[in-house]
Each structure stands twice: as C-alpha cells, then as structure tokens.
Amino acid sequence: TMKGSIMGVLLVLALVVQDRLAGGLELKSYDYTKYHTMDEISAWMNQMEMENPDVVSSMIYGQTYEKRNIALLKIGLNSTTPKKAIWMDCGIHAREWIAPAFCQYFVKEILGSYKTDSEVNTLLKNLDFYITPVLNMDGYNYSWIDSTTRLWRKSRTPGTGNCTCVGTDLNRNFYANWGMVGISRNCCSEIYNGPSALSEPEAKAVTDFLGMHQNQLLCYLTIHSYGQLILVPYGHPNISAPNYDELMEVGLAAAKAIKAVHGKSYRVGSSPDVLYANSGSSRDFARLIGIPYSFTFELRDEGQHGFILPEDQIQPTCEEAYKGAMSIINYVHDKNFKSAAITVTATLWTTLTALWISSTNVI
C-alpha cells in the first residue's frame, strides 16, 4: 500500500542517516578556512591516514618537552625503487597560526588532486612528501589557552640555571652556526637560542630525521609568518650557499607564481638581506647537510594583522602559498626526473648517428 511504501522509504532513510552519523567524521567535513586546535589537527592527521591508506602513512619521529608525539604525514605512491623526498614543516613558532593552516591545506590539495591531476600524480609517483603540520606542538597548544598566550613564540622548556623564563626559540637552536648572530643569551628573550645547540627535543627530532634521510631529501621547506618573504640560506651575512644564484632564481619564480594568484608581493632574498641576520635556523641546517633546495616561507601579511591573520584570509593565503611551494617542488622534481628522459633520448640519437656515419663510411 501507499502508506506501507512511504513507511518503508522513511525507514530506509532513517537507517542511512543513522549510519552516516555513526561514521562521525565523514558527515562533517574538515574546515580548512578555520584555525584548529592541536587536538583537532592530530585527529585530522589520523583521518587523512585512514581515508587515504594507499598514499598516506604517519611517522612519529620525536617527542616534545611536554611528551607529545611529534608526527609527520608521509605522502606518496608506493614504489619498488627508492624514492626522493620533499620535507615541509609548519609551526616552528607557536603564534604563526597561518603556517599549520597551510600545511593542512597543502595535504588536502595533493590528496584531492593526485588521482585526476597528472602533474600531482607524477610528483607523488616520483617523490615522497614528509609533512609536519605542527612542529612546536607545546608552544602551539599554549598559544591557544587564552588571549594573553596568543603571541607565544618559543618552545615550552623551562629555563635552566638561574633563568625564571620559559622557552627556547626553536629556529635558533639548530646546529647551524649556532650562537653566532641574531640570537640572545638572555633566556627571557624571544630569540634565546637555548642553553646549547639542539637542547630542544623538537629541534633534535628534525635533525635526526633529516640526517637519516639526507640522501633522499631534495627540498626542505619551512613555513612561518609574517612578512611575505621567501628566504634562502644562509642567515649569517658572510656565508653564501654555493647554489645561491640558483636558489634566488627558483625563489623569484615562486614569488612570481604567488603574485599571479591574488596580487600579493613576496620579497625574495637571504635572511640578512631582506629581514635580519640569524643563526641556528632549521633552513640553514638543512642546507648545510646538503639538501640543495632549502627555503623559508614567511606568509601573510606585511604587518597590518601580523601574527593574528583573520580567518577569512586563510583560504587566499593558502592558495598563493600552494602555488609558490609547487613552483619550487616542480622545479626540483623536473631537475631530478625529466633529465633522465633527456639523457636516454640523447644517448639514442648519439647511437643512431654513429651507426649512420659508420654505415656511410662503409660505402
């Protein structure tokens, strides 16, 4: 009867709805245009792994001072041959909330496009991406407590000795000209470089991982805010990377790609040129151990909002930064993979030409 079939339809609908709700996360999609707590980001990382098991796995590679597991997402298509890799970290400095937002956006973009976009598919085929959405988890969590903690920058390790202040600047703590310039020995300072190099477990975790994978890694990207800058090594004014010219070229191309999206200008240069001299940065460490393409991104804005970038700017900032990062990643990829094809072709032509010459000589 009519009534029976309506009841039947309603019953089926009710069961479907219940099933979707029981699934939980699938019904509610993640909002990439909002800032998320550390717990939300950790849950999101698990979700990314669960939803994309063939391309995403997570790795715990250290522990913060407050004993949080520092985790990254490894994203790439499985391969029988060893792969090269790209590293990206966000959130070395707690108050730079747009940076973790970008890492999450980046993951979302490549996972959402690799099946249909042949360029992204090729990248995931030839490369693994190691992405750490929040490196300074303790600091990031602290910056969420209330409005008085929002502008926290450093780690949360307590001061040593006579020091009553908390925290070390993780981006001054790496074994890269540690302590030489752009730091403070006052432990209350925002650029306190720590009691010693790699005193901070977060910096040690990255150092150990990069060291273990240094033959794989082609590119090191570290995401910060604010300033709208692309920084190349090194932070010391008297030291230049051997491939400085190339790094500048690649950086300028990335800035051009960024500008094409929403018209924002990003300045490109070494830190001592466009920002300030500094030492002990993760970018410098990466370059020093031989990762050739090492860049710092300083995202929006230029000072109007500074660290407290309004949420309505998350989307456009991520869109332009994505184009900038991809510009660098594609360059690095093409340099390492397309040239192989060119070499094969050149060898073929050389062989054919040699054969032709020898055949004509015979005649």
Partner: protein, 233 residues
Amino acid sequence: MASTGDLEPTHYPARRAAQVALHYLNTHHGSPFRVFGLQQVHKASAEDVAAGGRKYKLDFSVTDWGSGSAGPALRCSADVLFPRTERHSAPKVELHCEALQQINSTAQEDDAFYQKYISPDSTVSARDIPDSFGNMSEEMQPFWRLARVAASFIMLRESSENTEFNMAKVASITQQESSEEQLMLEFVVLLHDFPSQEIVQWKLLASWSPDRGVRVLQTEWQPRCPHATKPPN
C-alpha cells in the same frame, strides 16, 4: 654596519626606514577611517651625515589599509634621519606625498563617529581587538585604527635602524571623560619588533577630534610576564 649609497629597495635597511616614514605619515594623517601601509619601496639611498647619524632618502608608495587592494597607491618621498646619539633619540622625518589632499575624504565617517562617541554618556570599553582569530566587530574597527595611529607616535619615537615595529594587537580600549571637545581614549597596545621578535606593551592616553586629529598625551611602557610559567589562574 649598514650600507651607504644606493640601497636595494627590497632589502631591510630601506624597508625599515620607509616604515619609519609611514609611522610619521600616520601620526599626521591617520584617523579612525584612515591608516596607511607601505606598498613598495621604489628607490632608496643612505649617507652618513656630518653631525653623526645616517640619513635615508626614500621613494615609495603607500596605500590606505581601509580601501584594501582596490585602493589607489600614493607616491611619497621622504628623508629619514637616524641620529647617532649616546642615548636613543627619535628619528627625524621629512615627508612629502603626492595627491594626499585628493584621496577620498573620510570627513563624513569621521564626523558621524565623533558625534556618536563624544556624548558624555559614552563609555566605550573593550579588550583584545582583534581576538585570537583576527575577528573584530565593525564597531571596533575605527577604535582599532585610532589605536594604530596613536601607536604610530610610539613606534616612530622608538625606531632605530635596528628595529622594525608593527602593532600586533590592541589589548584594551577604555574611553575616558572627553576633554576640550576631544575624544579621550586610553589604549594598551602590543607592538611587535622584527629583529628581536619581542612583543612590547605600551599604555597610552590619546585624544582625537576631526579637526585636531590624533594627539598622544601620555605613554607608559609596561613590563610583561609572558615568559614566566603558566599564567595566573
């Protein structure tokens, strides 16, 4: 230390000097509906001067933050002198911007805002502008701009070749009793300095009216305890 002669416009010495010129511009022409930001440095040079100190010559463009990317860019030129004295003294700025008088006047909004809040009953009071997510109500925006303009007086005064200031947020706004037909506002502002990465807190008392513009009457540096252990509960 720093370079003399022609400067690279995208490098920090020129940028820092231009920011100082911007602070000066805002102290003179900022209002509840107008705050200028640096768009681009076109040319810059620096030279040591006889009395000690370094003088920067700048050619740059500014935009009104209120108009966003749609707004026109104003071309400006400035001389910024950083004195070399034993104790810090404020840089001296000479500034000229083209077409300053021709940009859209904000007189109507200024007057409406003034009339609304000059009344003796008005007791505006607010904290954390913006909040941690960058939100601020539309009502608070002119107050934020006034705080930014007032903060420019401090940023200008405190600037040197080794600093680069922006206002990170307004911690509090408390309207005081109006005086001599001026809106009187007490602000607590948090300034961010790039090279040291420090957040510096200042309390200040400012007056404003459409005729007289922003004046800063009192400033007081405030110590912060952000580096201590957990905030008091």
